[in-house]
């Protein structure tokens, strides 16, 4: 294990190796927060377009294209066979024209394609891409998992009110925010 250090420790943008406290396996954590998109990383604009197109069916919410580009970048780089799975998912959707993610997932018989679809969904919700031995952190406050409760719960480290501006009131559980 190696952790990059300096006299003013800041977790390295790339290549910081961390052990997952809840898992025995080790993961290479790459945070791409400030990483510029590099030419060629996406291999082709078409692949990126397909990623956003497939994502728009898998995740029925407004999707941030910059985050999508970085997510696709990380998945191509760290998830085995991802470009092939993405192509196959796009072709399947083009051929079957499912109305929504529910219809798509029920129609998908191929387990590897289903897993690929699930991993795309997971990356949008967690803001991170799980590779074989790496986790690439793409976004924090834009991770969709926070949007689901954004009408009441704080995104840790961000404030949703002001000084003593919160109360014990809470909206109904059934009232899902629109995002």
């Amino acid at each position: 294990m190696h952790i990059s250090r300096s006299t003013s420790p800041r977790i390295g943008r790339r290549g910081l190796l961390l052990g997952m406290s809840s898992l025995s396996a080790l993961f290479c954590v790459q945070t791409s927060r400030a990483a510029p998109l590099r030419g060629g990383m996406l291999r082709s604009g078409m692949l990126h377009q397909k990623f956003m197109s497939v994502s728009s069916l898998l995740v029925p919410h407004k999707l941030n294209e910059t985050i999508g580009m970085r997510t696709a970048d990380a998945m191509i780089a760290t998830v085995p066979d991802f470009p092939e799975h993405l192509e196959q998912l796009a072709s399947f959707i083009e051929a079957k024209k499912p109305a929504d993610v529910e219809e798509l997932m029920e129609a998908l018989a191929d387990v590897s394609l289903k897993n690929a679809a699930q991993s795309i969904i997971e990356s949008w919700y967690t803001g991170a891409v799980q590779g074989v031995s790496t986790i690439s952190v793409i976004s924090y406050e834009e991770a969709l998992m926070f949007k689901v409760t954004s009408d009441v719960m704080t995104i840790p480290s961000y404030a949703i009110s002001g000084p003593n501006g919160w109360t014990a009131d809470a909206p109904p559980l059934s009232q899902l925010p629109i995002f």
Binding site: L17, I121, P163
Partner: protein, 547 residues
């Protein structure tokens, strides 16, 4: 070896204890040098470190504070870090894997900010219940220092005496600020617990309530008190350092103290430290304060053994490193049909303390109960995604699991025990210094409490909340309240420091903070550590005046 200028007061450690004493000494006109083993890191870097962690590591409070190789810590994120420092043994070793930060500002970077005072009974365990020890002074002696500490840190708390802790015990001053509001989760928890006779009190907290205080802004409910308050609304010692420097105090970072030097009359003359290049330096002073937490302080004393002090500095009693305490913690996750909605306001804002007092303490430990108020969105999402959900079902499940689950926590009062002991390991750290080796057994007093009292109480609490699931982690965990390793007492033969946290063996050596605490109580230790720091500061200043 490099020699530095001589200072009136040399303080090792820049946490709350070191900073309070440094500022008191400066205000009295004394020159002060502070040594910090780790670096000085700005708040925004730590916040960015936190946000850029993988989701599963964001609940690891030490993760945004990567330790430099010369200042390793016990609570580790990686096998590499574990191999660098960890050496815990005993039946409950995990319960002593303490989380602390060796950065300028110390562990106050990721403390909860909770400031429960000990009660008069907490300080008389031996005479009232026949267990543990009695403190060398009573609550009334400590009360004025508690009040000063609350103003120094900026503690908000309830104005209604019925909601204050300790109960029915006079306060010399009100809290400097009123209480913070409760969010929906803690309010519901309070309401549901009341019929059980469990009074969930609004916590006194070192967070600015409604107004700015001491140059820091009001709390805006960022729900990130640990691992780091992004706006410094919570007191942390790092906010005191610029003021200390403005008053003339000098701060040396990345300076790892490794030896305290005493002369042949047992007077402390110098502290030796290593810089990151492994170069040794020597600083001299007239008074020395070792305030680098309850693990590093006894370790440094033991490391400093010499021909005249074969057991280490301040250790003629052989009590240095013994009586290591913390409140052994149990956690239970509950799931309910109705929402709790935690995650509104600070991560901790209330606790049940009336469970910590009573005659049962002759048999088993009292305890503090709490429901954590951390936002559970990421936990709910991880669980929902694990189920393979998607679309609207995924959103509904994330929302349900985020709102309808909670974490109940109980922290047990420890007893001082000589077998719970920090010694020097044969294993060395990056600088070649012996690592701390700690044997820890929570003891039958705590185990009986868990079996007969606290686990049954947790189950009652869960039932009252309408829990459909109750998942208790049976392993005792650490609460990060490191206490006891330089225990206070009147008798130099069985204690390390006197009533002013002055070493019995060395008139110009002070060991204030958690290590000096005689017993731990059930509540968080920081405000007691701060009160002891101010009492020690008064003694240091008085000693200079009479010298």
């Amino acid at each position: 070896m490099v020699n530095e200028t001589k200072y009136d007061v040399v303080v090792v450690g820049t946490g709350v204890v070191g900073c309070l004493i440094a500022e008191q000494a400066l205000d009295a006109g004394l020159s002060v040098l502070m040594l910090e083993a780790g670096p000085r890191v700005d708040r925004q870097t730590i916040v960015e470190n936190f946000r850029n962690l993988p989701p599963s590591l964001r609940h690891h409070w030490d993760a945004p504070f990567p330790p430099p190789p010369w200042a390793p810590v016990l609570e580790t994120r990686t096998p590499g870090e574990e191999n660098a420092y960890l050496d815990l043994t005993g039946p409950n070793a995990t319960a002593y894997q303490q989380g602390y930060v060796r950065y300028a500002g110390g562990a106050t970077w990721h403390w909860a900010g909770i400031c429960w005072r000990m009660t008069p009974d907490d300080m008389k365990l031996k005479s009232l219940y026949g267990v543990g020890r009695d403190w060398a002074f009573d609550y009334e002696t400590l009360e004025p220092y508690y009040a000063r500490a609350e103003y120094a840190l900026g503690v908000c708390g309830p104005t209604d005496a019925a909601l204050q802790w300790p109960p029915k015990t006079p306060r010399s001053r009100p809290y400097p600020m009123g209480p913070l509001p409760l969010g929906p989760g803690e309010q519901r928890f309070t309401d549901v617990m009341a019929p059980l006779g469990l009074q969930n009190l609004p916590a006194p907290q070192a967070r600015n309530s409604g107004v700015s205080y001491d140059g820091r802004p009001a709390c805006c409910g960022n729900n990130n008190c640990f691992p780091v308050c992004p706006i410094a609304a919570k007191y942390d010692a790092a906010t005191a350092l610029p003021r200390i420097e403005a008053k003339g105090g000098k701060l040396l970072t990345n300076a790892v103290a490794y030896r305290i030097e005493a002369d042949d009359r047992h007077k402390i003359q110098a502290v030796h430290y290593h810089d990151p290049h492994r170069t040794s330096h020597r600083v001299t002073g007239r008074a020395f304060v070792i305030a680098c937490n309850g693990i590093e302080t006894p370790k440094l004393l033991l490391l400093s053994k010499d021909d005249r002090h074969p057991n280490g500095i301040a250790n003629s009693s052989d009590q240095v490193g013994r009586n290591m305490m913390d409140q052994p913690k149990l956690k239970a996750t509950v799931e309910m049909s109705e929402p709790l909605w935690t995650g509104v306001g600070p991560v901790q804002g209330s606790s049940i303390l009336n469970t910590s007092q009573g005659d049962f303490r002759s048999e088993y430990a009292g305890a503090m109960f709490r429901m954590e108020n951390m936002a559970r969105g990421s936990i709910g999402a991880a669980e929902a995604l694990k189920k393979g959900l998607y679309g609207r079902a995924l959103d509904q499940e994330i929302r349900r699991l985020s709102a309808c689950t909670g974490l109940l926590v109980v922290e047990h009062e420890p007893l001082p025990s000589s077998i719970n002991r920090l010694t020097l390991s044969d294993k060395k750290d990056w600088l070649g210094l012996n690592r701390p080796r700690i044997y820890y057994d929570v003891g039958d007093y705590v185990r009986r409490s868990a079996e007969q009292y606290t686990i049954p109480t947790l189950k009652k609490m869960a039932a009252a909340l309408g829990a459909t699931k109750f998942d208790l982690n049976p392993e005792f965990l650490h609460s990060d309240h490191i206490m006891g390793g330089c225990i206070m007492g009147k008798d130099p033969s069985d204690s390390v420091v006197d009533v002013d946290c002055r070493s019995h063996d060395h008139e110009n050596l002070f060991l204030p903070g958690g290590a000096a605490m005689t017993t731990g109580g059930s509540g968080n230790s920081t405000i007691t550590m701060a009160a002891l720091a101010l009492k020690a500061a008064d003694a240091i200043v008085a000693q200079f005046k009479t010298a």
